[in-house]
């Protein structure tokens, strides 16, 4: 396959474009999918190519329009719905949970809802309590939904193609801070199965399970851990539901230590689920009690002075891993971590607003 370096956002656009080209029942709808920014570049040019019938800006009616997408899916369409913030789509939980997730089951398997709901999550630039929530656990709790949360450009393309071709509702969560990262992506259409995690760094001493943007920070932490001769294995979940139990448990069986890094609230979430999974299945294999790094159980504060204390940092990951080796925490200075950008932006090039 011919592969070249493109951004995460470009990979989403390419997957959408190729799915629309190969299947006339695929259409996209969402506020702003036709606007000049095209959902941060992920829908740019699609209206021109496929027409406004298949690339649909829509009324600001999240619940009703989700119902519309579901109804169209029941009669043979394959909608991709996009919300620029996960927070906005909370208005549509009735349609997602009561209808999309259950339709196949509650009518005895006779109908299906092939619906993709793209949800943007993010952090930074003072987006605060109602613009930067990470709610993957909420959706993963619901039987009938699938939840994908890819980290790399390669994975986001393949997983989006799988999501569009899946006959079930798929919640597709994209972290805004991943949009500009680049990676090698094949030009051709390809699928990455939903429900398969990826071992992105082999290691023998400790298993770190993470997903989405948290995986990037985990990679940085793993680099620092090498200084302490801790060889971390990193499992990038890619999908939250179904969760890839085998890849997690196999890794823990090998390393005997576990740290979960989840970009979401600590309690009752993905990190809790993974700890429970390992406790139930591999308790005897653990050399130390497992630990997790997650957001504190408070709403996201707005001021960048507050937000920097809210989000866990690379040093928190390093120190949490050190703790499962009974090593004391070290300061950022001791760890050799210094920040050359404020912590409320993804990279130096970024200027506000979002």
């Amino acid at each position: 396959m011919v592969s070249r370096e493109i951004t995460y956002a470009q990979a989403i656009l390419e997957a959408t474009d190729q799915c629309m080209a190969s299947d006339p029942s695929v259409y996209i709808l969402g506020l702003g999918v036709t606007d000049p920014n095209g959902i941060f570049g992920t829908t740019l040019g699609l209206e021109k190519k496929y027409g406004s019938k298949r690339v649909l800006d829509m009324p600001v009616a999240e619940n009703g329009m989700t119902g519309v997408a579901i109804g169209s899916a029941l009669v043979g369409m394959r909608p991709i719905m996009t919300h620029q913030r996960i927070d906005f789509m909370l208005l549509s939980l009735d349609q997602v949970i009561n209808n999309a997730a259950k339709w196949h089951y509650m009518f005895g398997g006779q109908m299906k809802v092939p619906l993709v709901i793209r949800l943007l999550i993010g952090r930074g630039w003072g987006q605060g309590p109602q613009h930067s929530q990470s709610l993957q656990a909420l959706f993963a709790h619901i039987p009938g939904l699938k939840v994908a949360m890819p980290t790399t450009p390669y994975d986001v393309k393949g997983l989006l193609v799988s999501a569009v071709r899946d006959d079930n509702p798929v919640i597709f969560i994209e972290h805004r801070w991943l949009y500009n990262i680049t990676g090698n992506v094949p030009k051709e259409l390809y699928e990455i199965p939903i429900g398969k995690a990826k071992n992105i760094k082999e290691g023998k001493d400790v298993t770190i399970v993470s997903s989405s943007y948290a995986t990037l920070e985990t990679l940085k932490a793993a680099k620092i851990l090498e200084k302490f001769e801790i060889d971390a294995e990193i499992i990038d979940l890619r999908s939250i539901k179904p969760i890839d139990k085998k890849t997690i448990l196999d890794s823990v069986a090998k390393t005997g230590r576990l740290v979960v890094v989840d970009g979401a609230w600590r309690s009752f979430g993905v990190s809790a689920e993974i700890l429970a999974l390992v406790a139930e299945n591999s308790h005897g294999l653990l050399k130390r009690a497992p630990k997790r790094v997650a957001f504190p159980d408070v709403p996201t504060p707005t001021s960048w002075a507050l937000a920097r204390h809210y989000y866990p940092k690379v040093s928190d990951i390093v120190n949490t891993v050190r703790a499962v080796f009974d090593l004391p925490a070290q300061s950022e200075e001791q760890l050799g971590i210094s920040y050359d950008i404020p912590l409320d932006v993804p990279d130096r090039k970024f200027t506000g607003p979002f």
Binding site: A61, N63, D94
Partner: protein, 322 residues
């Protein structure tokens, strides 16, 4: 009056729904139909009058009080009874019950009990029709309370925006469970005017008069076929029995016995029967015959349901994902 064939067909259908609902009420105390039932006794004319104008290809979606809509669209009676009895031969294999009926052979896509929740889904089915350029209609049945939900207005707005082939049918029975209309909506509120504000045509009528329902629906369908876009129909009617279950609940005091008796005297089945007799399209003898035929059909459906196997333990875990 209608042509005799049509008139007789409507009579058969309305009588059939009445008998099925009343028989369910009779058998419910046996505690074998172990799911909620929301009977439509007293409201049957709307389902029959509306569905009389639909072809097999047209989609219908409905709500918790959906037996009448399902049957009027041609849904299979045996599969419905088996579903209510929780059997694997039920129309939703026992996973839905009375509140989740479907019969894809006649494009009755489904009924659901979240108030208003079905309206945008039906709008989406109509949107799918429009996207695929098909010649079909969608009808969605809902009650007066559903018009208080946000998705009602959201659906009217989108249907009007895209000129979708959908008929919104509101059955106003004046109560949401025990809550009367007057505590839920200002008396000035007029849903037809609301629909019209979105550019949607419509009409209001007497839901206990099957001929009036039939005529208003006839106009709705012909307007839509001429490209008018969506249509809104609202019919006043009255639920005889309790909100959920087989009994009567006037003794609870949430509505006046006199009000019930007034509506009881406006029985849609009896009123139509009287007209049929007056028009000499049917006589007492033939009515008796038809009734016993329907009763036999119902008995047969119940026997079928009760003889059918229950779904097995393994079925709990199937069909979560397609």
């Amino acid at each position: 009056m209608l042509k005799k064939d049509t008139a007789l067909e409507l009579y058969h259908k309305i009588l059939r729904i009445r008998i099925v609902e009343e028989k369910i009420a009779e058998l419910y105390s046996q505690q074998e139909m172990r799911c909620p039932v929301h009977l439509c006794t007293g409201q049957e004319a709307i389902a029959v009058g509306v569905c009389a104008h639909l072809g097999k290809e047209d989609y219908v979606m409905s709500n918790h009080r959906g037996h009448g809509h399902y049957l009027a669209k041609g849904g299979d009676l045996k599969a419905m009874m088996a579903e209510i009895y929780g059997r694997s031969t039920g129309c939703s294999k026992g996973k839905g019950g009375s509140m989740h009926l479907t019969d894809l052979n006649v494009n009755f896509l489904g009924s659901t009990p979240i108030v208003g929740g079905i309206i945008p889904v039906a709008t989406g089915a109509a949107f799918g029709i429009a996207m695929k350029d098909q010649d079909r209609l969608t009808v969605v049945f809902f009650g007066d309370a559903a018009t208080e939900e946000g998705v009602f207005c959201e659906s009217l707005n989108f249907a009007a925006l895209k000129k979708l082939p959908i008929i919104f049918v509101c059955e106003n029975n004046f109560f949401s469970v025990y809550s009367p209309l007057r505590v839920r909506q200002p008396k000035e509120r007029d849903n037809l005017a609301l629909a019209k504000a979105y550019g949607i045509s419509g009409a209001k009528g007497n839901g206990n008069d099957i001929l009036e329902v039939y005529q208003l629906m006839e106009k709705a369908v012909s307007d839509i076929k001429r490209g008018s876009g969506p249509y809104y129909l609202e019919f006043d009617t009255y639920r005889w029995r309790e909100h959920c279950g087989p009994g009567y609940d006037n003794h609870l005091g949430y509505r006046e016995e006199s009000e019930f008796l007034k509506w009881r005297s406006l029985c849609p089945v009896e009123a139509y029967e009287k007209k049929m007799i007056e028009a000499r399209m049917i006589n007492e003898e033939q009515i008796k015959e038809l009734k016993s035929k329907i009763e036999a059909e119902f008995e047969e459906a119940v026997v079928f349901a009760k003889k059918s196997p229950f779904p097995g333990a393994e079925d709990v875990f199937t069909e979560v994902y397609a």
